[in-house]
Subunit: 375 residues, 2 copies
DNA sequence: TTGAAAGCGATACCAG
DNA sequence: CTGGTATCGCTTTCAA
């Protein structure tokens, strides 16, 4: 049996001898429809295997959403990548530049609220944001002018807010992978430490927990000292690391769960311990590249910011267009980058922006070659 | 300056006092248009910042493409994953099940041509296929009834054919990562081997080359013996491995670039060398899971078949809808799976199919929650 | 509670 | 070469 043409609203209406308007209303649970006709429509729709044509739906709804992207200013390449992932997906889905408004704030917790309120004031239909201070976000969201504006968190979750979803790396997988690698690199013995921003940050606590658990179960001869909290302050990270190395001169490895691996490297270098230490870092940024090349950092766990951005946008637009969700937590498997495969990542990343832009310039048309650079 | 409404074809036509038809033709390089009007249109379109509405375009084109997916039968979970990735993306993009026809062939080079011709006979608008015998594919494509049917290769490329694109893992990154890991796991010394299907297969040759190169540059004290070609025959892999282990009893590691890691494990076990050997495998399938759990396989380089499928579909549909391409080679960074993070991958994979299906069942509506399971 | 009809923004065909 | 118009499938008034 071959179904040649797709079944449309019209087909159902026709088969039932009613109008497409009624079919539409029945299918969408509109209260003003005779229960009798509703069941008949539902039945027929099922029989005929009706599936709505999303494209037609979008066109007729002529929805032009405006989304605000509130993230940290771009010195850290992480957020540049996130933004470019969002931009790519927005283009691929045919959104215009005017529809995506980027608002940045300079530092953790600084200007974040202003950005949020600017987004509300601009009547954004949805917000993608980095909740640098989850607890404050909670407050803003509660007393927001429009209470149910969909918010998607990137990189970090903001628990107990009414956010639509949170997109982040799979923290458990990250911590576990780091632990297993560490164990192997150290020949299954030695003493290791973990640094993180704060135990109160869910993601970091999870990485630590996973790291610890995997170490215990797979490499039980490796011992773990107390975690270091740097509170996102470079000097604190450095100082605490120096102290750590002083009190544990036999330390064999450090797993840095945040981007703050440079202070750790520097502390190790200043303590003359750098070459005895196996460092597993997180993410990719200019300064760490050389450290990987020089062999000071054994590996880094790449959280794929571009893909995080892309997913965040998809989740949001899925909700905006189809009302689907919430998707609570969307997690992403991290990539492992070592000296061996470092260059391939750098290449991929470099070709990315330009590739798409070149294509766009060539035909003077919007490009959605986003998939070129899928990582 | 705030642009309130999107500029449409009609706006341009209006501003110029001409019709939308002419604007459309001018914008699309139609030869039958006065060069004078064309430049005026192009100019105006640029000034007004026109960008086509993809949704409207799709609807008006009302193209119902039929694509054929020709892959290896599903005992290997690899191809099941590829197919499900294709299916997910097809759904997400609003295609119906009838529009994607899966044709499978039982073994390498067996029934492949029949599948290809069936696809042609069925008047498919595009084909996604695994070119198990690239050279034969070349012939079929040359004497195909319809000469320019777009073909996207998955997993392996078929060079010198007029294929639209090939989607595969980044072979260089894979080989390099394997090499660096191997070096670290072995403390930078020892003798290692590589197994592959055949040197004639580009992808395998590339993995080997990258492995060798990275070994040389990063771990020069590790020596590499001649590669083993198993020609996709399990017994050949086993036999050659036994021979290898007999002649090199001091072998410290093996990098298996193909899915055929079980014969290697068995050969090593039968030679009583399994626990002295560090094996780095490729991909994830039922049998290997236990080997990873038991510590017989140190790590596996996962080629993300589901994502390969997804990308293959996107490339094809991009071409079908917008005439874009070719994209020659689309590569994907591999994932590293070890004992530590194995369970997270299994979980992700498990929740995938069911998650989407559950959601679909729940609202009795098509689901495109593909992003749940982005890996 | 239902039907009829007007869009949404592009494509494509037919006249002129 | 260009204008006019039907069309794609769905949503959304406006009457009845």
């Amino acid at each position: 049996m071959t179904i040649s043409r797709r079944v449309t609203l019209f087909d159902i209406a026709n088969a039932l001898g009613i109008s497409t308007g009624t079919v539409h209303r029945a299918l969408h649970g509109n209260p003003d429809v005779n229960p009798m006709t509703r069941t008949r429509v539902l039945q027929m729709s099922k029989n005929m295997g009706y599936r709505p044509n999303m494209v037609a739906r979008l066109l007729s709804q002529k929805k032009h959403f405006r989304v605000s992207v509130n993230t940290l200013k771009g010195t850290t390449s992480f957020w540049d990548e996130v933004r470019s992932g969002i931009g790519e997906e927005a283009q691929a889905l045919g959104m215009h530049a005017e529809d995506v408004e980027f608002r940045t704030f300079p530092r953790l917790g600084e200007g974040e609220e202003e950005a949020f309120e600017a987004a509300m004031a601009a009547e954004s239909d949805g917000i993608i944001l980095f909740p640098s201070r989850p607890s404050s976000l909670r407050d803003w969201m509660r007393r927001a002018t429009r209470p149910r504006i969909p918010v998607v968190c990137v990189s970090t979750d903001a628990p107990e807010t009414s956010r639509l979803a949170a997109v982040s790396v799979d923290t458990m997988a990250s911590g576990s992978l780091a632990a297993d690698l560490m164990g192997r690199f150290l020949n299954r013995k030695g003493k290791v430490a973990v640094t993180l921003s704060a135990l109160a940050v869910t993601e970091h606590a999870e990485k630590l927990a996973a790291f610890e658990k995997t170490l215990k179960s797979l490499h039980s001869d490796i011992s773990l000292v107390d975690p270091i909290e740097d509170h996102d302050v470079e000097s604190e990270a450095y100082d605490k690391c120096r102290k750590l190395l002083a009190s544990h001169p036999d330390l064999a490895g450090i797993y840095v769960t945040t981007e703050a691996s440079m202070p750790v490297v520097e502390a190790a270098r200043d303590a003359q311990l750098l070459d005895r230490l196996t460092i597993i870092a997180t993410d990719l940024f200019p300064a760490i590249i050389d450290q990987i090349r020089d062999g000071n950092v054994a590996a880094t766990i790449y959280q794929r910011p571009r893909t995080q951005g892309r997913l965040a946008f998809r989740v949001l637009q899925e909700f905006l267009f189809h009302g689907r969700g919430p998707a609570f937590r969307v997690t992403l498997a991290p990539h492992l980058i070592m000296r061996g495969n470092l260059d391939f990542f750098l290449e991929k990343r470099a070709s990315s922006g330009t590739g798409a832009r070149a294509a766009a310039a060539a035909n003077d048309m919007p490009s959605d070659f986003a998939y070129w650079n899928y990582d």
